[in-house]
């Protein structure tokens, strides 16, 4: 309806392969970025920044990481949280042990450490497939968390492996206010999202999807399975690692290994499924959905209980949450396997064809 595509023709493959080929979309994106980068820091309350927007961005990034592996390369992983943990702890140690290292570097190194471990745990994927692999990734989940808890070195001998993140500062500017942290996260996440988008629309992304859709055919075409899968593991873990570092440094401030539990891994998986496997946008939608749902329930349920005049104890609320999560997963897998991203895409198509139905 708002689209005016007539006259938007492509005279080069460059312009044809843009991320947003349609002018109206580009405009929309610019507006969105403007709001996120200028509007939000100015007007959003501390609660919104700390409790909603920052975690939203961080989990979007983690989901993006998992999406590379599961959505694009088709390798299911249940250990995402573990790689976040590695990112967080590695960054912590680089900050701690290398004098005056700028934090972007230690973030990067943190991510790389996660990538390295990711590759280690990805090795089995060369011989095993499907849920054999999924189960294998659980090994990472448990082993990593255990190591971080048990080896005092990682947490600089703090009790039960708790680490408290150093304050970040760069060129004399310290990121201590919510707004500044938010902006930092925003920059990193959107930057990585862009790189990710480029990745998946390039030959790399195509080989991933080829392996996902039909690995035999992919190999016959000349795609080396091993290299492709391991790369997916590496990049996926790298993104999770960075997300973990941000989680520790810009969100919680102090974390313990058990914080990166299997539940968290599942949460991230759910974000991918509900948001949309094989989509960049989906991760953001999924993260927003999964994070906002509990908040919504906390508000809605008491309200409902008032109407129905039946008291709902807090334990039940949390249980209802579990049920809702569970049924949503099933619902999406059945009704819209490509998640919110697809729904968004469909409605967009409708707008483009307006007033025609198809």
């Amino acid at each position: 309806m708002l689209y005016r595509e007539a006259g938007q023709f492509k005279t080069s493959y460059k312009s044809d392969s843009q991320i947003f080929p349609i002018l109206q979309d580009r405009i929309g994106m610019v507006i969105l970025i403007a709001i996120a980068a200028i509007g939000v820091p100015l007007f959003a309350s501390e609660y919104w920044l700390n409790a909603i927007l920052i975690p939203f961005l961080i989990f979007s990034l983690a989901a993006l990481g998992l999406n590379f592996l599961t959505g694009y390369a088709g390798q299911l992983s249940l250990g995402s949280a573990a790689f976040m943990a590695i990112g967080a702890y590695a960054t912590y140690n680089f900050q701690l042990r290398i004098e005056g290292i700028p934090f972007p570097i230690s973030f990067l190194l943190g991510g790389l450490s996660a990538a390295f471990v990711g590759v280690l745990f990805g090795l089995p994927s060369l011989r095993i497939k499907g849920f054999y692999l999924a189960v294998a990734t659980l090994a990472a989940q448990f082993f990593v968390v255990w190591c971080l808890t048990k080896f005092p070195w990682f947490s600089n001998n703090s009790s039960s492996g708790v680490i408290s993140a150093q304050t970040l500062s760069l060129f004399g500017f310290t990121f201590d206010t919510p707004a500044s942290k938010y902006l930092l996260v925003l920059v990193i996440v959107s930057g990585l999202a862009l790189l990710g988008k480029n990745l998946v629309r390039s030959s790399t992304g195509r080989s991933w999807m080829a392996v996902r859709d039909m690995d035999v055919a992919a190999e016959v075409i000349g795609i080396p399975l091993m290299k492709t899968k391991l790369l997916a593991f590496a990049i996926s873990s790298f993104y999770c690692g960075i997300a973990g570092a941000l989680y520790a440094y810009c969100y919680l401030g102090s974390v313990e290994p058990d914080g990166f539990s299997l539940d968290m891994s599942f949460k991230i998986l759910f974000m991918v499924i509900i948001g949309g496997v094989g989509s960049i946008l989906g991760n953001f939608l999924g993260a927003a959905f999964i994070l906002l749902l509990p908040i919504f329930l906390d508000i809605a349920l008491p309200f409902i209980s008032q109407i129905l005049h039946l008291p709902i104890p807090s334990s039940v609320v949390s249980h209802i949450q579990l049920m809702v999560f569970g049924s949503l997963i099933i619902f999406f897998l059945i009704v819209e396997p490509h998640g919110l991203a697809r729904l968004w895409q469909i409605s967009k198509e409708k707008l483009r064809l307006w007033p025609f139905p198809h």
Binding site: G74, L76, L123, P124, R127, I128, G130, F131, Y132, A134, V135, A136, L138, A139, F142, F143, W146, T149, K150, F151, P152, W153, V216, V220, L262, F266, L269, I273, S315, V316, H319, I320, Q321, L322, M323, V324, F325, G326, S327, L328, I329, I330, L333, I334, P337
Partner: protein
């Protein structure tokens, strides 16, 4: 030496418990090719149901029956509303669906049956058998022994069922070839429903045994995580695999728990308990690299 044997035996006994949960996985996987992550949640629900019905004032035996019926209903609903709607989807999708299912059950059961920790009393105390103790000085928990007995009984029962009943034949047929199963005149839906019912029953037994050991609590749901390495080891499709795998995992993790931490402590200092949390996985993983199809699973070549 004596100590070692004791560890091994307790390993075997607890391993059998893993096998029991793994059994539930195998049954469903054989019949419908679904790796049912919710098996653990089913164990939890079953146990909760029992104690729940007892709280509602039913006698033990009736509560168990009621719980069984509950599990059957859960099974049928799962087939009807979840897997039935996902036919011809890649197995990985079905797997993720069962993750969703397990969340659902973990949420539902406590609401129905209360979520405070409660014991289950099977009338057997969890203490070493005196005679054996005196004879060999090795402590073997009565409860564990009893449980093992039950489990072995259950396995035999299932074996008989599979061998000699029409349903059983149908189930085995389904495992290899759906068409063949149809030719036996039993619609797939029903077969799967039956399988889920059986899996529910197995879960119930597991729930009772684990529950009687350390009370009915959410931890039961995590037994699934114990069973997964067992499956990898034994293969997803093999009942004996599940038993043997369970025993191997049980024993190995007990040994690891005893013998590895001291080594690490000498090296790094600090406390290195809780190894059994991950050891089975690493163990299974390493094993996988050597033998991807598991102990008893069959190899297959992908055709082009």
């Amino acid at each position: 030496m004596q100590f070692f044997i004791e560890i091994v035996i307790s390993g075997i006994l607890s391993g059998l418990m893993y096998s029991l949960v793994a059994l539930g996985f195998v049954l469903i996987f054989k019949a419908s090719g679904v790796l049912n992550f919710a098996q653990g949640a089913m164990v939890y629900s079953a146990a909760l149901a029992v104690v729940g019905f007892i709280d509602y004032g039913l006698p033990m035996w009736l509560a168990v029956i009621a719980a069984f019926i509950f599990m059957v209903i859960v099974g049928i609903c799962t087939e009807k509303f979840v897997l039935g709607k996902l036919v011809n989807q890649p197995p990985i999708t079905l797997f993720m669906a069962t993750i969703g299912l397990s969340f659902f059950l973990d949420g539902l059961s406590p609401i129905l049956f209360g979520n405070e920790v409660r014991p289950i009393d099977l009338g057997i105390v969890d203490e070493p058998i005196q005679s054996v103790m005196e004879l060999t000085g090795i402590g073997i928990s009565k409860l564990d022994l009893f449980s093992s007995g039950i489990i072995i009984l259950l396995v035999i029962l299932l074996a008989l069922l599979f061998q000699y009943t029409k349903v059983g034949r149908a189930l085995r047929a389904v495992a290899d070839d759906h068409q063949a199963a149809l030719s036996l005149g039993i619609p797939l839906e029903n077969i799967w429903a039956i399988v889920w019912a059986i899996a529910g029953f197995v879960a119930l037994v597991a729930g009772l045994l684990w529950g009687s050991r350390n009370g009915v609590q959410f931890a039961l749901s995590l037994t699934a995580l114990k069973a997964l390495p067992v499956l990898i080891l034994g293969g997803f499709t093999s009942v004996p695999g599940a038993i043997v795998g369970g025993i191997i995992i049980g024993v190995s993790e007990k040994l690891a728990e005893i013998y590895i931490p001291p080594v690490l402590q000498d090296a790094f200092g600090g406390n290195f308990g809780g190894i059994e949390g991950w050891f089975p996985y690493i163990f299974a993983l390493v094993f996988l690299l050597v033998r991807p199809e598991g102990l008893f699973g069959e190899k297959h070549i992908d055709r082009v």
